[in-house]
């Protein structure tokens, strides 16, 4: 009852902006805790845990379960993700890898990217439940039932569809209609539910209650797992009960780096923290501040775009599941390698003249046998996701990104759970390190990140946005560290995206026209998005003032969400 009263007060506070400024022009501030997620109800769940005496992991796990209910297009029990945790007192960091794995039968699935994206063939073993419960078990402090209570309540009682979800349902109606169960949730009489309408997911609530009661085994073993497998296989998928029962989330170390004196803790393989580190290492060789912000300086933008292009060329060639391929992590993360790659950039013009001609580098000197065949393809350009950032009163921090693959995943709802279509992230080129194999994790763009200054959290960030995640995070870090922007300015600054497998330099219209004109003279072909666009992600960020200890949070206006501090 107290929790419900608190939730009501909190929501009223949000509505009337009493001391909470989620998506306004100034960051939300606080000293005891800060959360930033893509949905107010998830932020409220996280804050409730902090105020109940929980820590950042309790808050992040509660928010992650909740956001899977209230932002069902972007993540959920049927998906996977990754979480970076920093425990301030111990000065220790962890990476919880809960991305899914392909089935033990995956190579027999006859999955064809494009044709089968929205079918059960695209489903891989989901990791979200295992990962969140593992993190909670190892690092949390509140009871699991309390952690899951907000998610269960919103699934059972329903919640109002917000503008972002309404638009996504409308945009994806045709796909949603391909599964009658999914259609019964998101459509009414065959037509998309609109903003303000209540979305109820009672079957999902039942699954959440099973997890609350029986933990990991309630989801991955027994009746529920059997129901998942039966339903998925009836729809043409290949998952087995052994796939579910044998799935394990992992706790490892984050990949680490350093940028201009700040320590970076970020997602380990086969997620894309290494690409973020490589990009920042390369940019360290250039005085970005002196060159001017990229929204006003074509030269700065060009340099960063060229860095992003080369980072992707390396990523597609070298980054994969380390259980299956040898990834030259040390080489990719090294400052010397970054210098070599940066020095190959023509700072005055696009060279070579097409992004697709960019070549991967040579970390061979770091004991890697270079494959001679270049990569000519990339995985699905889709991939939509959610990120949340949390810090508690003790300075413990969590950056968490999770996904279903594309919006609404495979659109297959089985026994109450909307399943992912992460198989779309594999390569079907046998020479590629990300080639589909049985029980393998696909390369993923997700890059939850914590940046430290003198051993304390300084910036907690991450974003959805598929292949735009890495470029968005590079630009956000540069905005804060190089250009001194506050966290809201950094988040709302115009963005751009460039990589090897693109024909255009994608820019938001906030990149000045004269800058765009100069970039075109340099050889770039530009595609402009008016205003700010969800294409460039939806970052949730927290900044910690090293002097005052105050927390500032920012939720990206490109996506519905809110940062709440107290």
């Amino acid at each position: 009852m107290r929790t419900k009263s608190f939730q009501l007060i909190l929501l009223l506070t949000l509505v009337f902006h009493l001391g909470v400024q989620g998506q306004s022009t100034v960051p939300s501030t606080g000293r005891n805790g800060m959360v930033a997620t893509a949905h107010p109800l998830a932020s409220a769940a996280a804050l409730d845990m902090l105020r109940s005496g929980g820590n950042a992991v309790d808050a992040a796990v509660a928010a992650a379960f909740t956001i899977g209910v209230v932002e069902p297009d972007g993540s959920g029990l049927g998906g996977g993700g990754g979480m970076v945790i920093y425990l301030k007192k111990e000065q220790r960091s962890y990476f919880v890898n809960y991305y899914g794995r392909s089935s033990e039968n995956a190579s027999g699935a006859d999955f064809k990217s494009g044709r089968d994206n929205y079918t059960a063939k695209a489903i891989e073993v989901p990791g979200t439940v295992a990962g969140l419960l593992l993190a909670h078990e190892k690092f949390g402090s509140l009871p699991l039932k309390k952690i899951l209570e907000p998610a269960i309540r919103h699934a059972e009682n329903g919640f109002p569809v917000d503008g972002t979800l309404a638009k996504l349902i409308l945009d994806n109606t045709e796909n949603i209609m391909s599964d009658s169960v999914t259609a019964s949730i998101f459509l009414e009489d065959g037509f998309p539910r609109m903003e303000g309408e209540k979305l109820v997911q009672k079957d999902l609530a039942t699954v959440l209650k099973t997890i609350a009661e029986n933990g990991r085994d309630g989801f991955y073993e027994g009746k529920l797992a059997a129901a998942f497998v039966k339903g998925i296989r009836e729809r043409g998928g290949v998952l087995t009960e052994n796939d579910f029962s044998s799935y394990q989330a992992e706790i490892t170390s984050p990949v680490t780096g350093n940028y201009r004196g700040y320590d970076i803790l970020t997602a380990n393989l086969p997620q894309s923290g290494i690409s973020l580190i490589q990009g920042l290492n390369m940019l360290e060789n250039y005085d970005l501040k002196a060159s001017g912000h990229f929204s006003e300086s074509a030269r700065t933008l060009h340099i960063i775009a060229e860095v992003e292009k080369l980072v992707y060329a390396d990523r597609y060639q070298f980054v994969g599941d380390p259980d299956f391929v040898t990834v030259p992590l040390t080489g990719l993360a090294s400052k010397e390698y970054a210098r070599v790659r940066f020095n190959s950039i023509n700072q005055s013009k696009l060279d070579p003249p097409n992004y697709r001609e960019a070549t991967y580098g040579n970390p061979a000197e770091f004991n890697y046998d270079l494959k001679k065949e270049p990569v000519h393809e990339m995985e699905s350009a889709g991939g939509h996701t959610t990120h949340l950032s949390v810090i508690d009163k003790d300075g413990n921090a969590v950056a968490l990104t999770q996904t279903l693959g594309l919006f609404f995943g495979s659109v297959q709802t089985v026994a109450g759970v909307l399943f992912n279509n992460a198989m779309t992230n594999f390569s079907y080129n046998v020479e590629n390190v990300n080639y589909l194999q049985n029980s393998k994790r696909c390369r993923s763009s997700i890059t939850p990140t914590i940046i430290l200054k003198n051993g304390s959290p300084y910036l907690i960030l991450g974003s959805p946005g598929a292949s735009r995640i890495i470029t968005t995070l590079i630009e956000l870090v540069v905005n804060v560290i190089d250009f001194g922007m506050d966290v809201n300015e950094a988040n709302m600054a115009p963005r751009f995206y460039c990589q090897k497998f693109e024909d255009f330099l994608h820019v938001e219209s906030g990149i000045k026209p004269e800058v765009r004109s100069e970039l075109e003279k340099m050889g770039h072909k530009i595609k402009v998005y008016e205003g700010i666009d969800l294409f460039f992600g939806g970052a949730q960020m927290i900044y910690v003032d090293a002097v005052t200890g105050e927390y500032s949070g920012s939720a990206d206006k490109r996506r519905g969400g809110i940062a709440i501090g107290y």
Partner: protein, 181 residues
């Protein structure tokens, strides 16, 4: 007493506006197209099919697609995903719709606007398309969430264009079908 009077007035207004819509008849065959390339046009195609209309849907309709057409239905709503799939810029799409409307006007083919996206297809980049199509319509059928700020009511009043507001997308189906009966 006051409440009852208000209710009667509202009811009369609804009957009156519905009767204006009912009074307007349009002919088939119908061309359905998008303004902004949102997926909404596919839902309207479905509505038209359910009503058994003799309708063709062309997402990127050109003036030449108007040959033999008696009524043009345009579904406004911006989608960057849709534009990307069509391979056009926002400006190119706007010019296409302008050209289509100009030809329809020259051929005296009436235009019906069907706006079904609610708030999801208002403001931002959608409103330029909403304005363009609304201004040139003989009739607007709108899911009323999109008119909360009076955007379409303003167009209706200024240009004397009948406006039918409905609560839900599903409620556009019968009025749509009745236009041709």
């Amino acid at each position: 007493m006051k409440t009852r009077a208000s209710s009667i007035i509202i009811l009369l207004a609804l009957i009156f506006s519905a009767s204006i819509v009912q009074a307007q008849k349009f002919e088939q065959p119908v061309l359905i197209s998008s303004a902004g390339q949102s997926a909404d046009v596919k839902l309207v195609k479905m509505l038209a099919q359910r009503q058994g209309l003799n309708a063709t849907t062309v997402l990127m309709a050109k003036p030449s697609d108007l040959n033999g057409i008696k009524t043009l239905i345009i579904v406004p709503g911006f989608s960057s995903k849709g534009l990307g799939a069509a391979g056009v810029s926002q400006q190119e799409e706007f010019e296409r719709v302008q050209s289509l409307i100009k030809s329809a006007n020259e051929l005296q083919i009436p235009i019906v606007m069907l706006h079904i996206g609610g708030n999801a297809r208002r403001k931002g980049q959608s409103d330029s398309f909403n304005q363009l199509v609304g201004d040139n319509s003989k009739l607007m059928i709108v899911v009323k969430q999109a008119d909360e700020d009076g955007f379409f009511t303003t167009i209706s009043n200024a240009k004397k264009i009948p406006l039918l507001l409905v609560d839900k997308i599903a409620e556009t189906e019968i009025p749509l079908g009745n236009l041709f009966k």
